[in-house]
């Protein structure tokens, strides 16, 4: 038996013994475990599952063991993921720390910082939020104005962030601050601090789709030790960009992670629009557009697979991966639009008994999906990046 086969067998046995039965059921969004000081567990099994996975480092399978990770090779991790998938195991932890901050810390943080922060992330003890966008700095993120001014051993931070997901529930923030006002990109630093620090205030944002995890976050004379700066002073932009790559990947995969399979469009159309005698969706134009959408979606899924295979062949990240974020957004938006269209008036209700839970949810998802091409970098910015970095087209002078 090869080492990998051996590993597969051991993994299978461990999961069999340690993954509670209820953690192998599909989950809804309300059952997601985000961890943190005030972690909520929808049932005791999800707490147990996180503890067991965290202890083994398998929430961060490829991170080094000295930082709490699983220390697995790429191949071993593929085995682990396939075994988790085989039993339909839920992710033990959803975490910006795992998806975004952790990889950046591994690359840029001091040894001391890694030892302090990474194990907490692995075990889901600290929940992180991301302080990037500001009212005046969206697509042009490097135009951010939140100031960090040295004062003794500290920085004093003043300013405002916006679209800070779950800021009202997070324990710590990784934040971009301006440490030099005379230059743009070269005057930004990357700093970590506790959201419980005096002077931090958050306010939730209500969206067109209703309530949301987004917040406005205000900093008034927030004192942060200088030792919480990651990387060099004024070198935060490099870290920020790298982290955005991780964010874009996690956004494009988010639907797959929650395992929440939306009702296939053809069923919606069948129920709300009806079928012709020979079994076709009776609205021929809608049927054609559903077929076109299904092809887009399938083509995208095939491309995700192809790129994953190319990556394991060691040919490096494929150029196609740069497109995932904007393609994923477009496909989800199209699906939502077609669903609402197929439901007719039933897809346009806001609340009340006249509409089913599925119908209300379709309406809200449709509205929410409009943000897919804005958050984490707009699709226009994503397209600019592909034009420049993949196609080699230069900036307009």
């Amino acid at each position: 038996m090869s080492d990998l086969d051996q590993f597969r067998q051991e993994t299978r046995e461990w999961l069999e013994a340690n993954c509670p039965a209820s953690m192998r059921e599909p989950m809804s969004e309300s059952e997601i475990v985000w961890g943190g000081r005030n972690a909520e567990f929808p049932n005791p099994d999800s707490k147990l599952w996180l503890e067991r996975m965290g202890e083994r480092g398998w929430t961060a399978p490829v991170w080094p063991t000295k930082y709490g990770g699983g220390g697995l090779s790429k191949d071993q991790n593929m085995v682990l993921q396939s075994e988790l998938k085989r039993i339909n195991a839920r992710p033990a932890l959803f975490s910006f720390g795992l998806w975004m901050l952790g990889p950046a810390l591994l690359e840029f943080a001091s040894e001391e910082q890694k030892l302090k922060f990474l194990p907490q992330i692995v075990r889901g003890e600290i929940r992180w939020c991301q302080g990037y966008s500001e009212p005046g700095a969206g697509s042009d993120l490097a135009g951010l104005q939140t100031r960090a001014v040295p004062d003794g051993d500290d920085y004093v931070i003043n300013g405002q962030k916006v679209w800070t997901s779950y800021a009202d529930e997070a324990d710590w923030i990784f934040c971009l601050v301006r440490t030099d006002t005379s230059v743009k990109h070269e005057g930004i630093s990357f700093i970590l601090f506790d959201m419980a620090t005096e002077g931090v205030e958050t306010r939730p944002i209500k969206l067109i789709s209703g309530s949301s995890p987004f917040c406005e976050t205000f900093f008034t004379d927030v004192r942060v030790p200088q030792s919480h700066l990651v990387g060099e002073l004024n070198a935060g932009w490099t870290i920020a960009k790298r982290l955005l790559q991780h964010e874009r990947t996690s956004i494009s995969n988010f639907g797959a992670v929650t395992g929440s399979e939306p009702v296939p469009l053809e069923y919606v159309a069948r129920n709300y629009v009806g079928l012709t005698k020979d079994g076709k969706i009776s609205d021929a134009s809608l049927r054609d557009r559903i077929a076109a959408h299904r092809m887009e979606d399938l083509g995208f899924q095939l491309t995700l697979k192809r790129v994953a295979m190319e990556a394991t062949q060691g040919s490096g990240p494929s150029a196609a991966s740069s497109l995932f974020k904007s393609y994923g957004a477009k496909i989800n938006q199209d699906r939502c639009e077609l669903t609402v269209e197929a439901m007719g008036a039933q897809g346009l209700g806001w609340a009340g008994d006249a509409f089913s839970e599925n119908e209300i949810s379709a309406t809200r998802q449709w509205l929410r999906s409009k943000g897919n091409s804005i958050e984490g970098g707009t699709s226009e910015i994503n397209t600019n990046v592909v034009a420049k970095q993949v196609l080699g087209l230069r900036d307009h002078q």
Binding site: E266, A269, R270, L275, G279, K280, I281, R287, D288, I290, A291, A292, R294, M295, E296, L298, G299, F300, L302, T303, K305, R306, M309, E310, Q313, A319, A320, L323, Y327, E380, T383, N384, V386, A387, V390, L391, G392, L393, R394, D395, H396, Q397
Partner: protein
């Protein structure tokens, strides 16, 4: 699922690319067109291609082929698509040899496949009867006559019809004119008495012919496959054709994209390359994205044939529609982004635009295949 090429396929791609750029660049196609070559392709070059094993690439070794599968053939078609190199690959190899491999008797296979693999026998599929793709709309009739058949009717859009030695013909042996049941296939020698072939001049300068059958006498042994059940075989042949054509279109679309992207970097207006303008950058990224999707779809569809999967029909309609739309977009943008020079005959953009529209139409348009995709998917 094999979404990436294996070593053998990579080698085949490299040798095909070398061969095509050396012997079959776009200028070779122009020469054929401008010299009004009656064959519509370079017969000597076809012999060389056959010597490289391309004619037998999907034919089993026992019949003199290389048995490299459709993934291998796809690699070759992508490369010939890049330079618009005309050859009987689709008509003879994809359609003709598939028909024989799918439904041929041992005698038919032994008689024709080795000659096809050697590049000596050319085939054509005579199935269409109207301007729009409608494979079951068959009025051409085969009537039983003694031990054999008598064939009457006419066909159009017969690829390589006027150079073919043998025709695979769909004919009605029972049922009404649009019934899927009641269609049978026959192998008809092109020089049979009563066969009249008229070569057409098409916008892409590829071969296409109208064929008439007037009291053509056929032996019982000329029937291909099961009587009245020819549509099953026809669908399978056409699905292979659709996927193969998607591979060829993918090659052509990639070529247009690449030379257009180069042009965006070279052409200066307002003191800078036009590729610095965001209006063009975003459209270039759109094309790039569609090509990346198409690469995955074509590879998956070719693999489906080689693995004998049940979803070949779905994949065929998927690939034909998706790549057809991408080809449409990219071939049009190829002309637009080149501006005035793109409108001239001297520039290659127009050649790809012309080829694109014919290929999009052949074996069913994108809209036709979305309809079929929906039907096959149960809605």
């Amino acid at each position: 699922m094999a979404m990436i090429l294996n070593e053998e396929q990579n080698l085949l791609r490299d040798s095909a690319r070398d061969f095509v750029s050396d012997k079959g660049p776009v200028s070779a196609f122009r020469k054929i067109r401008d010299e009004k070559n009656a064959d519509g392709f370079d017969k000597a070059l076809w012999t060389e291609m056959a010597e490289l094993g391309w004619a037998g690439v999907i034919i089993p070794e026992e019949f003199g082929g290389a048995d490299f599968g459709f993934q291998g053939l796809g690699v070759v078609l992508e490369e010939t698509g890049r330079t618009l190199l005309p050859s009987p690959l689709v008509s003879t190899i994809v359609l003709g040899s598939s028909a024989l491999m799918l439904a041929g008797s041992d005698e038919q296979k032994s008689a024709l496949l080795p000659a096809i693999a050697e590049g000596k026998c050319l085939m054509a599929l005579a199935a269409e009867e109207g301007a729009h793709h409608a494979p079951y709309a068959v009025e051409t009739a085969a009537t039983a006559d003694g031990d054999g058949w008598v064939l009457n009717g006419s066909k159009c859009q017969v690829l390589d019809g006027h150079v073919a030695n043998q025709l695979i013909v769909t004919a009605r042996t029972s049922g009404a004119s649009t019934d899927r049941n009641g269609i049978s296939l026959f192998v008809v020698a092109a020089d049979s008495d009563g066969v009249e072939i008229e070569a057409l001049s098409m916008v892409d300068n590829r071969n296409s012919a109208n064929v008439k059958f007037a009291n053509v006498r056929l032996d019982a042994s000329d029937a291909l496959g099961t009587q009245d059940k020819g549509a099953d075989v026809l669908d399978a042949i056409l699905d292979r054709g659709r996927i193969a054509l998607a591979a060829e279109m993918l090659g052509a679309a990639q070529q247009v994209f690449e030379f257009t992207l180069e042009y965006l970097k070279e052409r200066h207006q307002f003191g800078q390359p036009i590729g610095t303008f965001q209006a063009l950058q975003h459209r270039a990224v759109k094309m790039f994205g569609e090509l990346e999707i198409c690469k995955s779809v074509v590879m998956e569809a070719l693999t489906a044939i080689d693995e004998g999967r049940e979803d070949v029909p779905v994949m065929a309609s998927f690939a034909k529609a998706k790549v057809g739309d991408a080809m449409h977009l990219i071939s049009s943008e190829g002309v637009q982004m080149h501006g005035g020079i793109g409108m001239t005959d001297e520039h290659d953009s127009g050649l790809y635009l012309k080829r694109a529209r014919v290929a999009e139409h052949t074996f069913g348009s994108s809209a036709w295949h979305r309809d079929r995709f929906a039907t096959l998917s149960g809605y």
